[in-house]
């Protein structure tokens, strides 16, 4: 169940968005977060929302996944929004004032904007993780880190580490579940009592998990060496990334969006 929450996020599909190059998706997602900050009035936010919702529609992923993406963060968002409303400099009509707390028209509007920003960022990054397998993301990261080779950053090794880490997440999740059940059978209560008791209950979980992870790591290293692994240099690559016309088009669309935002902003 834990694995579904964090890592089983990828929803297989056949949409245009699913088929995009992960490098394009990753870069454009970051870019999108950047241009959100251009927006500063209603038309720009409406445009951004229309764009995001269109992208979601194109992906064919159910809306509920996106709403669920916002849910775990809703308290953080509301907290930030409330702070913004209560403490931003007063402007426009003032509805309420008490000491340093001011609720003004300006503050309310700003609060709503902040809320919109959060939702947009969450929607877009959820779209990225829902439509891109983790492995493709790790390939994209490897590619984007490539320039760091100049300063002798071990890009291949880091990429292999990342892909092995991803590959072992479900294995370790299963193992955790197994150990938890074994400890439950011995009378350990997980998720009960105060925070200290809960932390104490984690210890008999972590120790066997660490021991077994080290054993796995040693076995894996042996198997890799037996299969001729000698480090990243001189290896060829089985998985490659292909940049298609659709990726160029997506990039162009983002450029147009940027121009429109700049034009529409106050």
């Amino acid at each position: 169940m834990m694995s579904k929450m964090i890592f089983g996020r990828y929803i297989p599909g056949n949409s245009l968005i699913h088929h995009m190059d992960p490098r394009a998706k990753l870069l454009l997602s970051f870019y999108f977060i950047g241009i959100i900050f251009i927006a500063n009035n209603w038309p720009t936010y409406v445009l951004l929302f229309a764009f995001t919702l269109l992208a979601i529609k194109l992906s064919g992923v159910k809306w509920s996944f996106f709403i669920n993406g916002v849910k775990p963060l809703i308290w953080l968002i509301l907290f930030t929004v409330v702070l913004q409303i209560l403490f931003s400099a007063s402007g426009g009509q003032v509805y309420f004032q008490w000491g340093i707390i001011t609720i003004s028209q300006f503050g309310l509007v700003n609060g709503v904007y902040i809320f919109c920003r959060f939702v947009l960022i969450i929607f877009m990054s959820t779209l990225l993780t829902l439509t891109t397998p983790p492995l493709e993301l790790s390939d994209a990261i490897e590619y984007l880190l490539m320039p760091l080779k100049v300063v002798h950053f071990p890009v291949y090794e880091v990429a292999l580490m990342l892909s092995i880490a991803l590959r072992f997440v479900p294995t370790l999740m299963d193992e955790t579940e197994k150990i938890m059940n074994a400890q439950r059978a011995r009378g350990v209560d997980f998720g009960e009592g105060n925070i200290f008791q809960q932390m104490r209950a984690i210890v008999p979980l972590l120790i066997p998990l660490f021991v077994s992870s080290f054993n796995r790591a040693e076995d894996l290293a042996t198997a890799m060496e037996a299969r001729g692994y000698q480090g990243g240099e001189g290896r060829s690559k089985y998985r490659i990334l292909k940049w298609h016309g659709r990726d160029t088009w997506a990039t162009v669309t983002f450029a147009v969006l940027t121009v429109a935002l700049v034009y529409l902003r106050a």
Binding site: S163, I164, R167, L220, A226, R227, G228, S236, K237, Y238
Partner: protein
């Protein structure tokens, strides 16, 4: 026949061991090209240590290992590793790739083989172990037997001359074990692969041309499966589970039935039982 594996007076000690202790003591044997040799022995007798010495994962204290005419040394170790494919016990801990096809390609990537060739060799290898429909699956969604078959596909793709199986079927259920054994036999039939299989499984040992028995770091016995299995209950001492026909024979003998002294396969046992019944 030429000797593809030649081990002479191999001694091995783990670095943390005392200077007067050895994990492997004076091991010598040869394996002919195309032969299937089973290595049996108790847990901790040194079988895995021996296997890891053969492809230079561990370096011996003394002794000489020759693989396909090349003497194992720091210079030849990578060449020799290409000639030897190794499948280990735990299906999960040797699955390097994030998906089935990635794992099969791992050895090829290490050798720097061009991508076009990798694509065809991976597809071919997966078809041979009947896993072509699982090419893009993640290991978490495979059974133990399927993972071991993927490991074998990785070997097929890398085309080694020698396959070493270190209890490769011991963590599998009977069904998975049968699948994997069948795949190995298929591989053996398709090419003149030399197989060295470390096992506690009597059926696996019975498939071999020759059985080596390791005890406490010494090579104590060597013979055909039939010769070795004649030892009956002493087999258990050697680290093998006694074969079912032998157990049945022992039980019948206790009931006063005259049983043949020679080793019987399961089929041979069935035939003999039929004869016994019709003679009554």
């Amino acid at each position: 026949m030429s000797q593809i594996i030649d081990v002479e007076h191999l001694n091995y000690r783990y670095p943390q061991q005392a200077a007067d202790q050895l994990t492997l003591t004076d091991i010598s044997f040869t394996v002919a090209a195309g032969e299937w040799v089973a290595i049996v022995g108790h847990n901790g007798s040194g079988k895995s240590t021996l296997a890891k010495n053969l492809n230079g994962l561990l370096a011996p204290v003394s002794g000489k290992i020759t693989i396909d005419g090349q003497v194992l040394s720091e210079q030849t170790v990578w060449d020799i590793r290409r000639k030897i494919g190794m499948v280990f016990q735990n299906p999960d801990n040797q699955f390097v790739g994030a998906t089935v096809e990635d794992d099969v390609a791992f050895s090829l990537e290490n050798q720097g083989i061009p991508r076009d060739e990798m694509l065809s060799r991976v597809a071919e290898a997966l078809a041979q172990v009947d896993m072509q429909d699982f090419a893009t699956r993640e290991p978490a969604r495979l059974s133990g037997g399927q993972k071991q078959r993927v490991a074998l596909a990785g070997m097929i793709a890398a085309r080694p001359q020698i396959l070493i199986l270190d209890e490769a079927t011991s963590m599998l259920d009977p069904e998975g074990r049968a699948e994997v054994l069948q795949t190995i036999q298929q591989m053996k039939a398709d090419s003149d692969l030399t197989v060295l299989s470390i096992t506690h499984d009597i059926d696996e040992a019975a498939n071999a041309n020759r059985v080596l028995v390791v005890n406490d770091g010494h090579l104590v016995e060597e013979g055909t499966p039939a010769e070795i299995f004649q030892h009956g209950p002493a087999l258990i001492k050697m680290g093998l589970d006694m074969p079912y026909p032998e157990r049945l024979k022992a039980a019948l003998a206790r009931l006063g039935v005259q049983v043949p002294a020679t080793y019987l396969t399961e089929k041979g046992m069935a035939d003999w039982l039929w004869q016994l019944r019709s003679n009554k």
